[in-house]
Structures are given as structure tokens and as C-alpha cells.
């Protein structure tokens, strides 16, 4: 059965056929025909954002909390360029997105027409792939291909630029089953011989460690289940990147905590001292490795990744395994069990004893106060008061993000949405809305800093309009905290433009948006204030006034290896002294 329809209707039909339920977008001249079609149907829900960057971050939050691709619809020119930051963010964190942009009519392309921008040119380096569709007959097939490319292999954002005349013209609709997608087929099954070699090494390893990343989350919940089974079967310690939190439960007994620049002491020292590193869906980012030449110098490294370009990019892999994490872990578990599940029982207890020694350092220790709220304390209380609830956390970028990663516990995948690779301030609020749209009944909290939060605060309007009861938990230190920390440690305490002047009154701001505002500045009031936030049926802006000059520790300073990390002053009394005291 062939169906002839307009390009605009094709867009909506193709989205329906791809199982899309929600689109985040903002209308404009070049997408009016598509918006007209959206108006005339009820299957796809459209969430009107307040800025196109917000649409992309919301779609990212939706995608990361559901495992499904996020869909964005924006207009040409400024609509597309405003989306670029979000698209780049999704590329860096491997989030599947399908971004549809309007374009001026084909006969005006290249004319500097009103709201014209070279969208495919601008987004070429920040998408996994993009298309300019010049004929209506190719539109439906291109959309199906776009979903295929966005979700297969290493996920990422794709963009389809659709000129207005292509939306008006008619053509024959191509259903998903008829669309040609055979050309893009990334390898998912790992090399059997390499997997067997790895299993063999796992049996003799004296100081093994799992180092997992966002690839485990992206591979689906089955990957997390297999990872847990494998950790239990081997009794190896496990650490994870910022992106991978929740794949292995934060309350699990083999969990060492996050690693990296602000990772836990025990995690980083275990990485440095291990003799077998099993990297699973992680990419050896510079925030993870520290000084590359001294990175885990005595270990054999196995690297499981679906993207061949991740392997040997930064760190040489002795056992590279290209494949989907789920497939490879399943096969590794099979091989492991078939060989008798023999961990090195003589050596492992010694390794764990060493790790327990590092754990005793209690690296997240900080000096609490009964006069001012310490940001770490605020997060500990948030953790304690939300424990046991199905809780989704998003963050902005900076100190609060690292503290959230350190002090909140994630026991399940897809519950932690943060901008890791690009480090996009302004990510958390729109992302929290996307999460809440996908999970209307869940508790969704954006742990924010006041400076980041202001970058996309217009999206509170979106939260109000669509009754998304997102909780904005702002750790307000009236500073760009991480910038200030770096200036203190590395730029002679010259605090160049790193404080937040002329901040709004967040409680009044909340009232202006029509939601609830809560101000808390006394540690004694904190629990009640948090409970008030949790009990309120609607969006809340929580202005938590915290210690202004708290630094985020542990920390691997610039160009240092894992074993030269710095701890906070509460646990490094004496290590920082004299002239170096101001610098840490």
C-alpha cells in the first residue's frame, strides 16, 4: 500500500511509526507546515520549551532516563544555531537524539534568505550524521535512517534539515520496514578469542579492577544486570566514570565510588595500583587519566567499546574488544562460568585489604559547621531524605555536580543525568523537565549551582506549563565555584569574574513563575526545608545558601597521576602547609 502525502505529514507519520511519543520543540516560519500537522493529531505530545537549547537538553534528559531516542523540532536559522550547544553535548555524551530543523525553501538556499543558516554545515562536526533533504520523496526514508543511525552503534545526535517547500510538496510515504538501513551496521559481537584471553587473565589477576563508563548505561539495562552478575561472580572491585554511575549499585559491596579528577581516593589508587584493568564502555577521558604517561603503569588493560576509535585513542589497550557491552559481557560471563569461575582466591583478599586501607582515609570527609550549610552536608541530607524513592537526579556543571556525584547514591541505571563530556552549564534544568515528562510520577531533582541554573532558567516556564513538578535544588554559594577553586589553587587567588553579582531573589523568582520558592541558610532548618520541597506538589526553586569558599576534594591536580591526588583539609592536616597553604 502506498500513501501519498505532504512532507509535513510524512514527518509526523514517520515519528509515529518510530514510536515517538514526545517531541521537544519551538515553532518558527520554516517549520510551520510541520506544526500544522502536529496540531491536527493527538498521538505525539509536543513540549513547548522557552529556548531551543532547552529543547535539546530536555530531549537528552528524556533519552537518558528512558533509553529511547529524544526528538527535537526547531526552526531554521536561530532555531538551529541555538540548538548547537545541546547537540554537541549529546555528541560528547553519546546520547541518541533526532533533531529536525526547518530550512528556507530550496530555491532560496544560498541566498542569505531570512532566518537562513547553513545548518548541515554548522552541525556537521557536532552530529553523528546529518542530512539536508531536498526531495519530499526521500524525506520519510531519511527520517527512518536517522533513527537507525542515532541508536545503532555508539549512540549520538543526528539532524535532518527540511526546507519549507519540501514540507509542502507531496510524495510517497516509505514505512520503516522499507527504509534502507543496511549500510550502517556497526559491529556488536566481540572477538571470541579476545574474550577468552581476558577470562584467562581474570583468573590469574592479583589486583584486578572494573573501570566502567556511560557505555554500560547506553547499552541498555541488560548491560547493567550482566555487569552486576559479573562483579558478583568475580568479586573484583569496580569503579565508574561520572557517566557510568548507577550501572553498578552505589550501595553494592564491591563499589569503590567514582574515579577521576574528583573521584574517590580508593578508586583512583586502585586504578593506579591494579594489575588488570577491565575498561567497559569508558573512553579514558583526560578527567579520568590525569597524566597519561603515569596512568596505571603496572596493569594489563582490556578495553571493551563499541566504537573502534575509542580504543588506543588515549591509552594503549592490550586486549581490545570491539562490541556492544551487553553482547560482550554476556559472552564473557559465559566463558567465565564455563571455565569454572575461578578468581585468584589467594591474591584477592590481599587486594581487598589494601583497598580497605585506602577506604579508611575517608576521603570525602569535610569539616561540618552548625552555623553555615556545607554543600556536602546539604547533599548528604538530600540523600538521606530521598533514600528508597524512585529518584532521578540531573545536575548543572561545576562543584555541585562533583559533590552530587560523590555524595548521592545511584543504585540503578538511567537515574543520573549530567553533562559529562561537554560540561554544559545550563543543562540540568531543561534536562530535569525532559526526565519528568518521561516519568510523570517520579521524583526529579536538579542539583544546581546558582550560576549554571541562571543560564537556562527561562525553562521554569516550561515546567509550569506542562505541570512538571521538578525540584530545583540550588547550592547557592554566590560564586562560580569551580572557577573560583581553580583560581584559588592555580592562579594566585586572583578571583577574576568568578562571583555572582546581582543575583535574583530566588523565592520571588519562584513566585513570579507561579511555583514554590524555599530559602534555607541554617543547617538546623535544612531537613524541614528539604521535606517541604519534597512534599510540594509542583515545581520548587530551593535556594540553599551554602558556604561560599568550600573546595571540592579529592582532586587530582593538573597533569598529575592518580597517586598524587589531594584530599580536603579535614583529612590532609599538615599535608598543605606554609606558602603552599593558599594553593593546596
Amino acid at each position: 500500500m502506498t500513501k501519498v502525502m505532504t512532507g509535513a505529514r510524512m514527518v509526523v507519520q514517520a515519528l509515529k511509526d518510530q514510536g515517538v511519543e514526545v517531541v521537544f520543540g519551538y515553532p518558527g516560519g520554516a517549520v510551520l507546515p510541520i506544526y500544522d500537522e502536529i496540531f491536527q493529531q493527538n498521538d505525539i505530545r509536543h513540549i513547548l520549551v522557552r529556548h531551543e537549547q532547552g529543547a535539546v537538553h530536555a530531549a537528552e534528559g528524556y533519552a537518558r532516563s528512558t533509553g529511547k531516542p529524544g526528538v527535537v523540532l526547531v526552526t531554521s536559522g536561530p532555531g538551529a544555531t541555538n540548538a548547537v550547544t545541546g547537540i554537541t553535548d549529546a555528541l560528547m555524551d553519546s546520547i541518541p537524539l533526532v533533531v529536525l530543523t526547518g530550512q528556507v525553501p530550496t530555491f532560496l538556499i544560498g541566498n542569505d534568505a531570512f532566518q537562513e543558516a547553513d545548518t548541515v554545515g554548522i552541525t556537521r562536526p557536532c552530529t553523528k550524521h546529518n542530512w539536508l533533504v531536498k526531495e519530499t520523496s526521500k524525506l520519510a526514508e531519511t527520517i527512518h535512517q536517522a533513527f537507525h543511525v542515532a541508536t545503532q552503534g555508539r549512540p549520538g545526535p543526528v539532524l535532518i534539515d527540511i526546507p519549507k517547500d519540501v514540507q509542502f510538496a507531496t510524495g510517497t510515504y516509505v514505512p520503516p520496514a522499507k527504509a534502507r538501513t543496511d549500510h550502517y551496521r556497526p559491529r556488536v559481537k566481540g572477538d571470541r578469542a579476545a574474550i577468552e584471553r581476558l577470562a584467562e587473565l581474570m583468573e590469574t589477576a592479583e589486583r584486578p579492577i572494573f573501570y566502567t563508563g556511560g557505555g554500560v548505561i547506553n547499552s541498555g539495562t541488560e548491560a547493567s544486570r550482566l555487569l552486576r552478575e559479573l562483579v558478583a561472580a568475580t568479586d573484583f572491585p569496580i569503579t565508574s566514570t561520572l557517566m557510568g554511575l548507577g550501572a553498578y549499585p552505589g550501595s553494592g559491596k564491591n563499589w569503590l565510588g567514582m574515579l577521576g579528577m574528583h573521584g574517590l581516593y580508593e578508586a583512583n589508587l586502585a586504578m593506579h595500583g591494579c594489575d588488570l584493568m577491565i575498561a567497559v564502555g569508558a573512553r579514558f577521558d583526560d578527567r579520568i587519566t590525569g597524566r597519561v604517561t603515569d596512568f596505571s603503569p603496572h596493569s594489563i588493560k582490556a578495553h571493551i567499546d563499541i566504537d573502534p576509535s575509542s580504543i588506543n585513542k588515549v591509552i594503549h589497550a592490550d586486549i581490545p574488544i570491539v562490541g556492544d557491552v551487553t553482547e560482550v559481557l554476556r559472552e564473557l560471563l559465559e566463558v567465565w562460568k564455563a571455565r569454572g569461575a575461578k578468581s585468584n582466591r589467594a591474591a584477592l583478599p590481599k587486594w581487598w585489604a589494601k583497598i580497605d586501607g585506602w577506604r579508611k582515609v575517608n576521603c570525602l570527609n569535610y569539616r561540618n559547621s552548625d552555623k553555615v550549610i556545607k554543600p556536602q552536608y546539604a547533599l548528604q541530607r538530600l540523600e538521606a531524605l530521598t533514600r528508597g524513592r524512585d529518584r532521578y537526579i540531573t545536575t548543572e556543571v561545576g562543584q555541585h555536580q562533583m559533590w552530587a556525584a560523590q555524595f548521592l547514591t545511584f543504585d540503578d541505571p538511567n537515574r543520573w543525568m549530567t553533562s559529562g563530556g561537554l560540561g554544559t552549564m545550563g543543562y540540568g534544568l531543561p534536562a530535569s523537565i525532559g526526565v519528568q515528562i518521561a516519568h510523570p510520577e517520579a521524583l526529579v531533582i536538579n542539583v544546581a549551582g546558582e550560576a549554571s541554573w541562571l543560564m537556562n532558567m527561562q525553562e521554569m516556564g516550561t515546567a509550569m506549563q506542562f505541570r512538571a513538578p521538578v525540584k530545583q535544588f540550588i547550592l547557592n554559594n554566590e560564586r562560580l565555584g569551580m572557577v573560583r577553586q581553580w583560581q584559588q589553587l592555580l592562579h594566585g587567588e586572583r578571583y577574576s569574574h568568578s562571583w555572582s553579582e546581582s543575583l535574583p531573589d530566588f523565592v520571588k523568582l519562584a513566585e513570579a513563575f507561579g511555583c514554590k520558592g524555599i530559602l534555607c541558610s541554617d543547617p538546623k532548618d535544612l531537613d524541614d526545608a528539604i521535606m517541604e520541597m519534597l512534599d510540594y506538589d509542583g515545581p520548587v526553586i530551593f535556594d540553599c545558601l551554602v558556604e561560599k569558599h568550600e573546595n571540592c576534594f579529592p582532586m587530582i591536580p593538573s597533569g598529575k597521576p592518580h597517586n598524587e591526588m589531594l584530599l580536603g583539609d579535614a583529612s590532609t592536616e599538615g599535608a598543605i602547609s606554609g606558602a603552599g597553604g593558599a594553593l593546596v
Partner: protein, 186 residues
């Protein structure tokens, strides 16, 4: 564990390790990349090289399979073995890329480049230019009383050598196509 010994006011510190981690031998490789002949595909490949800081020494591109809409891009690039491996992996994961062949490591290959040289001169210089062109098996494709245009085909080294010889004999302009290459054998 030690405290950082950073001088107060030091400004040369960064969140990144700014030293080059791998200082290694630089190799030259010829890559043949088979791509879908779609709009923007060349920009995609070039953008990959410029965006990630790779070198392009020479680049040629043309459609080689009209019915299959396939183009062949031949790239000569330089880098450490690790960088060359990255370039190939980055090319291979691009959606419109079908195949990537490293002709430098996949066995012997034929490499050829075509060039046009305009040489102007009279008297001895003109005679010498023509004589050398004959030695290099260059063809005269245009001639006036004061100038020749030579067409020459060969390896990049041969064309470099011919250019050096023509320079003192009145070389005015030159146009080179860049390297095209095929693996030897069936």
C-alpha cells in the same frame, strides 16, 4: 601523598596535561577511502582532519562508481603510528564511509600524480627544458615561441624532481592533481 608545590601566582598551570604524551616517529601513509557520493561527504572528511588536527599532504576525489554512487578519496597523511590508527578508526566510523584501506601497510601499491608545468624561456633554456622533459617522459601539451606546457605523470617524488629542474629554466606555474593510488595485484 604530597601537597602540590605550585608557586603563588603561577600562571602556567592548566586543567590539562599540556605536554605531548607520545613523541614518536612520523610516518607518511596513503589512505584510500570509499564513500557514498552524497552532498557534503568531502566536507565531512576534510572537517574530520581539520577538527582533530590531522595533516593532509595530498587529497584527490572523484566518483568511481556512477551506479553505486561511490566516490574514492585518496589521502596522503602524516602522523605517528597512533595518530594514523586513529585517523583510520575515525574515518571508518563515519556513516557514509564504506571502506578504508591503508595502501602503505596493505602491501605494494601504485601511486601516481599528474602535473602541468608552464615553462617560459628562449634559447638554451628552452632547448634544455625540452630535453629534460623528454628524459622525464613529459608531453608537450601547449607550445608558443616563448613557452611550453608540459604534462607529466609519476610519483610525487618524480614530479618534485622535475619541478626542481624546471625552476632555473623559467618555471612560471604548476598545477598538480594530488596522488591517486591502487594496490598492486588482483
Amino acid at each position: 601523598m604530597q601537597a602540590l608545590n605550585i608557586k603563588k601566582g603561577a600562571s602556567s598551570h592548566s586543567a590539562y596535561d599540556l605536554r605531548t604524551p607520545y613523541e614518536d616517529v612520523i610516518e607518511t601513509h596513503t589512505l584510500a577511502v570509499l564513500v557514498d557520493n552524497e552532498s557534503g561527504v568531502l566536507a565531512r572528511v576534510i572537517g574530520l582532519f581539520s577538527g582533530r588536527g590531522y595533516n593532509i599532504e595530498s587529497l584527490t576525489v572523484a566518483e568511481v562508481d556512477h551506479r553505486g554512487h561511490l566516490s574514492r578519496i585518496t589521502i596522503v597523511t602524516r602522523g605517528t603510528p597512533q595518530v594514523i590508527e586513529q585517523i583510520k578508526a575515525q574515518l571508518e566510523r563515519m556513516v557514509p564511509v564504506h571502506e578504508v584501506h591503508d595502501l602503505t601497510v596493505e602491501g605494494p601499491a601504485v601511486q601516481r600524480e599528474l602535473a602541468l608545468f608552464k615553462v617560459a624561456g628562449t634559447g638554451d633554456h628552452r632547448v634544455e627544458a625540452l630535453r629534460l622533459a623528454d628524459i622525464f617522459r613529459a608531453n608537450v601539451v601547449d607550445s608558443t615561441l616563448e613557452s611550453f606546457v608540459f604534462e607529466i605523470t609519476g610519483t610525487a617524488e618524480k614530479i618534485d624532481a622535475f619541478a626542481e629542474l624546471m625552476r632555473p629554466l623559467g618555471l612560471k606555474e604548476m598545477a598538480r592533481t594530488g596522488v591517486a593510488a591502487l594496490a598492486r595485484g588482483a
